[in-house]
């Protein structure tokens, strides 16, 4: 992979921006649904995680994810995914990406906690999810998302 090709004529670009694409830990997760051995599963607290020691490496989950968030790990020969830093959040810590974000752009919290920071953010801002028509009920919300983002 050599990266994305350079834009030949920058003047044709209306605007440019970055959109982080993380696993949405969907409520109705297609990757969890299709895993033939249950190696991708939902934890009791709602995170969709994977047991790499059980994954057979069929890549069906990669095909099923509408958001391009599953990938094949060439080293372990298994499918990989964001675990929402499960080892951290179960100890009361934030996921590493939310922890280190210098501008605090990532808000992490428990969706069931009505008094929490996340619920407060969602209540006070216009947020949306990617590809809502897929019926996956993502738990990753974007604030001020551009229409170009798929």
């Amino acid at each position: 992979m050599h990266g994305f090709p350079a834009v030949e004529d920058p003047d044709t670009v209306e605007k440019s921006f970055f959109v982080p694409k993380m696993c949405a830990h969907c409520e109705r997760s297609p990757c969890e649904q299709v895993c033939p051995v249950g190696a991708t599963f939902r934890s009791p607290d709602g995170a969709v995680i994977i047991d790499e020691s059980y994954c057979i490496g069929c890549a069906y989950c990669i095909q099923a994810c509408p958001y391009g968030c599953r990938y094949f790990n060439e080293e372990t020969k298994t499918a990989g995914k964001c675990t929402l830093c499960y080892h951290r959040i179960t100890r009361g810590l934030k996921p590493a990406c939310a922890e280190v974000c210098p501008t605090g752009a990532r808000v992490f919290g428990d969706l069931k906690d009505r008094e929490g920071k996340l619920a407060e953010f969602i209540a006070q801002h216009n947020v949306q999810v990617l590809k809502p028509g897929m019926g996956t009920f993502p738990k990753l919300y974007y604030h001020a998302l551009d229409k170009e983002v798929h």
Binding site: M1, F4, P5, K21, P30, E32, Q33, V34, C35, P36, V37, G38, Y54, C55, I56, G57, C58, A59, Y60, I62, Q63, A64, C65, P66, Y67, G68, C69, R70, Y71, F72, T76, K77, T78, A79, M134, G135, H150
Partner: protein, 400 residues
């Protein structure tokens, strides 16, 4: 890469081996459905190919899992699909569907179909072959008219069960793709039905080509009535298959969902050769017109045979490219619907082109062994006193 794709899409995760998987299972199901044409649908003209179709189906079924195993990151863990199948996964059922079809349908049907012949061949063989045939008959040499009749009755029942099983086997393979809503190219309720009819098409074409090839190798003339019957069945299946795929295309164009633009670009660009030329034109329209001309016009046998052979080969490549277009084509565009990636077929390696060639050749080697062990064209029948092409055991193969 062109346009904007997700980071995990630069490399296709399902390679040419996954193309072989539906192709081979389609040949299995199609050959079996053709064989059932004689026993269940009473198309007696198909008698000369009945056993060849069964053995072809078995030879390909024995190989059907190998492309999948070669593709898996951890093939040694594949048994987990049997031990802890995930009930919501379409793929989890594959092992069970496969085992059902192999053990309950094909092996049992072939065993009952050949049991009387295996007893006779065991009695007339010497040395290791005698032991092999005796072991295959489980050291039971009962050959009374009642037992032979019972064999045929059971084989008939298994064929009746086998038809929906063959439908299940390949319709299910189509469902594995058709149920992926994340991929607009695959996401279609028609996918299982299209897969099923394309399977029938490919199975008939394969047996037709094999029948002509084996006749030539054995210096015998193929039965023209049989070839004509297969050609008509192929034409019918082609028309239905073509109609269903056409319906899918028309529906996609008419409803013009969000993905229509990128799919149109793909079909007219990256897939033009494999889809428009190889699949639709050479694998669909040309064979249909050729077969239709053999029905409409009086064409000499010799020319008709050449037409059937060419048509069969064209159909086989057309269905292969149909699988290619589904599996590879379905991964060439980004799920962002804003870009394309490229598939470069590497020849070496576990998922390479040479492995694909080997896996496609392997069923023919297995079929050769099977036809030596269980001659489908009257080799042992000559011993038993039957004529060329006649069923080995009795006058009516597998009829109740």
């Amino acid at each position: 890469m062109e346009g904007y794709i997700y980071p995990n899409e630069h490399r296709l995760v399902w390679s040419v081996l996954i193309t072989l998987y539906p192709y081979i299972t389609g040949l299995v199901a199609g050959a079996f459905i053709l064989a059932s044409g004689l026993t269940v649908f009473k198309v007696t003209a198909l008698r000369p190919t009945y056993r060849l179709a069964l053995l072809t189906s078995l030879a390909f079924l024995l190989v059907a899992t190998l492309p999948l195993l070669a593709h898996l990151g951890h093939p040694e863990r594949s048994f987990q699909m049997f031990l802890t199948p995930h009930s919501t996964s379409a793929m989890a059922l594959f092992g069970f569907v496969y085992a059902w079809y192999l053990m309950v349908v094909l092996c049992l049907e072939i065993w009952f179909e050949y049991r009387a012949d295996m007893v006779k061949m065991g009695q007339q063989s010497k040395g290791i072959m005698r032991l092999v045939y005796r072991a295959l008959t489980m050291f039971d040499e009962t050959l009374t008219p009642g037992s032979v009749k019972l064999d045929h009755k059971i084989a008939y029942i298994i064929t009746v069960i086998g038809i929906p099983s063959a439908f299940l086997l390949h319709g299910y393979v189509g469902f594995i793709f058709g149920s992926i809503k994340a991929n607009p190219y695959w996401d279609s309720v028609l996918m299982p039905v299209v897969f099923l009819f394309s399977a029938i098409v490919s199975g008939i074409a394969l047996v037709m080509v094999l029948y002509m090839l084996t006749s030539k190798l054995r210096w015998t003339q193929p039965d023209m009535a049989c070839l004509d019957a297969m050609a008509r069945a192929l034409l019918l299946a082609l028309i239905v298959d073509f109609g269903l795929e056409g319906l899918d295309v028309v529906h996609r164009i008419y409803v013009a969902e969000e993905s229509i633009d990128i799919l149109s670009l793909m079909v007219t660009g990256k897939l033009f050769l494999t889809l428009v030329i190889c699949q639709v034109l050479l694998g669909g329209l040309v064979p249909m017109l050729t077969l239709a001309s053999t029905v409409m016009f009086s064409i000499p046998d010799r020319v008709r045979k050449v037409m059937y052979a060419v048509t069969g080969l064209l159909v086989l490549q057309g269905i292969f490219f149909m699988r290619w277009n589904v599996v590879i084509g379905g991964q060439l565009f980004s799920k962002s619907l804003l870009g394309f990636t490229t598939y470069k077929l590497e020849m070496a390696g576990r998922e390479g082109g040479w492995m694909a060639v080997f896996l496609m050749c392997l069923p023919f080697g297995i079929l050769l062994v099977l036809t030596k062990l269980l001659p489908p064209w009257g080799g042992a029948a000559d011993v038993a006193g039957h004529g060329e092409g006649a069923p080995l055991s009795d006058g009516e193969p597998s009829l109740a």
